[in-house]
Symmetry: C2
Subunit: 408 residues, 2 copies
């Protein structure tokens, strides 16, 4: 007897057959005595189809009207899923973002959630209905349709779970949980039963595509227990919570994440003076280019090297932006490298343990892998290496930190 | 300087290219100084695609959820059309049925319009915007999405025109107006500049597919001048109004309509007693079979023949329903004929003129066409004939009543 919010992504509802399977699963959960709210995405391919229609008319579509068009994708899914539930004798009712008063600000195509009215949903649950809500979409104070941006359905589910004070928010996807590393790279990778919000945030932002970052932040902020499950297989999945085990025997490292879609830009011989970092990165961020790692070392002779990474697809834009403003950095030399990879160790355990970094560096050195950049946070160490070593580094670190072993 | 409501059907917005053409036309109307509200249907094929998705899950889809699914069709069109207008520098804003508060009752899939809030639209028009509204859909008092049934976009447009007291409601379609008869059958058929609501109603209900009947009723009730125009070509189209010309020289007959999709059922030797008509038709209408013409002649020997017509697709259902209840009609003989056609003369002029019927019967007789059934109303005479004569009858009557001549 619990209140569960389940979210099914586009692949899970990608065909009539899959929608039937989702209905089967939801009906079973309901029959077991739970209150169930389901959040769904558009059928896979649908959002792309709608986007193509829009861009074929207007290459940069008007944001308000784009939201009107895109939000139809989830609306179709909620109706179809309700039909599949009702056919099974499971009372169900659908809500669009507007109908459930999923209130957001007015930033079309990437709106922020402000408030969710829960009265209608609670009334339906009390009447024994499964409630099916369109993910990804909301409504602003003037009644305009808004969307939360790609992947926003995860955030919709978590926000609904928070508003309803649900016992758990389950994200059903095409993987059966969060792994210690990418199983396609590290065959020994192990599914984690549990991971903290902070760790998951680092994993997510480092390229583990299981969950959308905003949804993890949201779940952490409102302390919504989040579970990642396979929508195709049975299993416990991975639970993401605050329950930090204080046992010192816990694993130091929860997982290893790798990211290949970055490129690195280095400005050599930059004047080592106040404001130079801003002078370099200001114009870059003005062009809406997101910067990830930033490394600046102590300078000598009044000059220093300044390195940062950007998304690989933004490299050309960033380079020409810098070339144009070369005087900013005192005619320094600008070089770039787009065959890099970032490998990161993540774990709340590393807070209380020294030696993780040195073990990491030694492991990579033993394999002959040169480290180009290092960046650390409280629960993460990231290194940038030559892209060709990414699988090797991943496997070596997985072994070195014994991630294939279930911690005692 | 007028307030014009334009409605574009599915074919007119059936592709990105056609949506661009519609935008062109709307922008021109706006630039000429008019206030313009546009009502659009789903892109052609889209409603069928959505219906197939729904019925593949639930052969008789849940009506509330079906409306949720189907209403997305028009929602995509309004967004795309607004983009095409905005691209042309023509300010535009889209509204779904819910957003414009197109209030209906809760009869899902065939809701009736109750009230339309016009404040938002008026504010947008005052701001110089073209307003684009999703046809076919509304919202009930509880915020549930409803649809008006197939072809409901015409009705949406007329209702909006009535609410806004528009100067004209223009229905843009794939024909360039209302004709004296079907031009594919009668090459001499002539486009009418003007026709009355009543005549149009009879024409529409008799199979002239230019306009949906409900929209004509609505336009008549609220006296909304309605104009049928081609969305592909220029032209004045046909204006439908109350302006009845009292000139006695006016045309007696406005048009000829033919309908082929009916079948006739005859019960011979029915007891000529009170209540027998109800006993026969009661069970038929209980099965939701619509009955069109009903003819019963004076009986002899306490027995009579009872004939009625139903949609051809309902014939088998109606026949087996009657066979099961054969005792109702005193074991009379039941026969049916599904190769019939109904040909009708329509015209407000016939009210004040005798002799129309006899001229019609003589014309058919001269061509050797036997009349099987006759039914009349104030402004219409319908006859049922063998289907194979339908084109011949149509052309002969068109000639006999001089419909190819513009009236003086």
């Amino acid at each position: 007897m619990a209140l569960i919010v389940q979210k099914y992504g586009g692949t899970s509802v990608g065909s009539v057959e899959r929608i039937e399977k989702v209905a089967e699963r939801v009906a079973t959960l309901k029959e077991a005595g739970n209150d169930v709210v389901v959040v769904v995405s558009a059928m896979s391919g649908e959002t792309n189809r709608l986007m193509e229609l829009a861009t074929s008319i207007m290459p940069q579509p008007n944001p308000r009207e784009l939201d009107v068009v895109l939000s139809t994708g989830e609306q179709v899914t909620i109706g179809l899923l309700c039909m599949a539930l009702i056919k099974r004798g499971c009372a169900a009712k659908s809500y669009t973002g507007s109908q459930v008063r999923f209130r957001t600000d007015s930033t079309h195509t990437k709106a922020r959630i402000e408030h969710i009215e829960d009265e209608r949903i609670r009334a339906d649950l009390a009447d024994g209905r499964v409630v099916v809500v369109a993910g990804f979409q909301g409504v602003d104070k003037d009644g305009n349709i808004t969307t939360l941006g790609r992947g926003g359905s995860d955030t919709s589910a978590v926000a609904l779970a928070a508003a309803l004070k649900a016992d758990e928010c389950q994200i059903l996807t095409d993987v059966d949980g969060v792994y210690t590393s990418d199983p396609r790279i590290v065959p020994k990778a192990r599914r984690l039963d549990k991971i903290t919000f902070e760790e998951m945030l680092e994993m997510a932002s480092l390229g583990s595509k299981v969950l959308q970052i905003r949804s993890v932040e949201f779940a952490g902020k409102y302390n919504v227990p989040l579970r990642v499950l396979s929508s195709f297989e049975d299993g416990e999945g991975t639970l993401i919570t605050y329950d930090e085990d204080t046992n010192v025997e816990q694993a130091l490292i929860s997982g290893i994440a790798a990211k290949r879609d970055e490129a690195q830009i280095t400005l050599s011989g930059v004047p080592d003076s106040p404001g130079v970092a801003y002078q370099i990165l200001g114009p870059v961020s003005d062009m809406n280019i997101e910067v990830d790692m930033i490394v600046q070392n102590v300078g000598a002779d009044g000059l220093t090297d300044f390195t940062f990474t950007v998304g690989r697809s933004d490299l050309d834009k960033a380079m020409s932006c810098l070339q144009e403003r070369i005087e900013t950095c005192g005619n320094c030399e600008i070089t770039s490298n787009d065959s890099i990879a970032k490998v990161s160790l993540v774990g709340v355990g590393m807070r209380s343990h020294a030696g993780i970094a040195s073990k990491m560096f030694k492991t990579l050195s033993d394999e002959g892998i040169n480290i180009q950049l290092i960046s650390t946070s409280e629960i993460k160490i990231s290194v940038v290496i030559d892209e060709k070593y990414v699988e090797l580094a991943n496997r070596a670190l997985h072994d070195a930190f014994g991630l294939d072993q279930v911690p005692d």
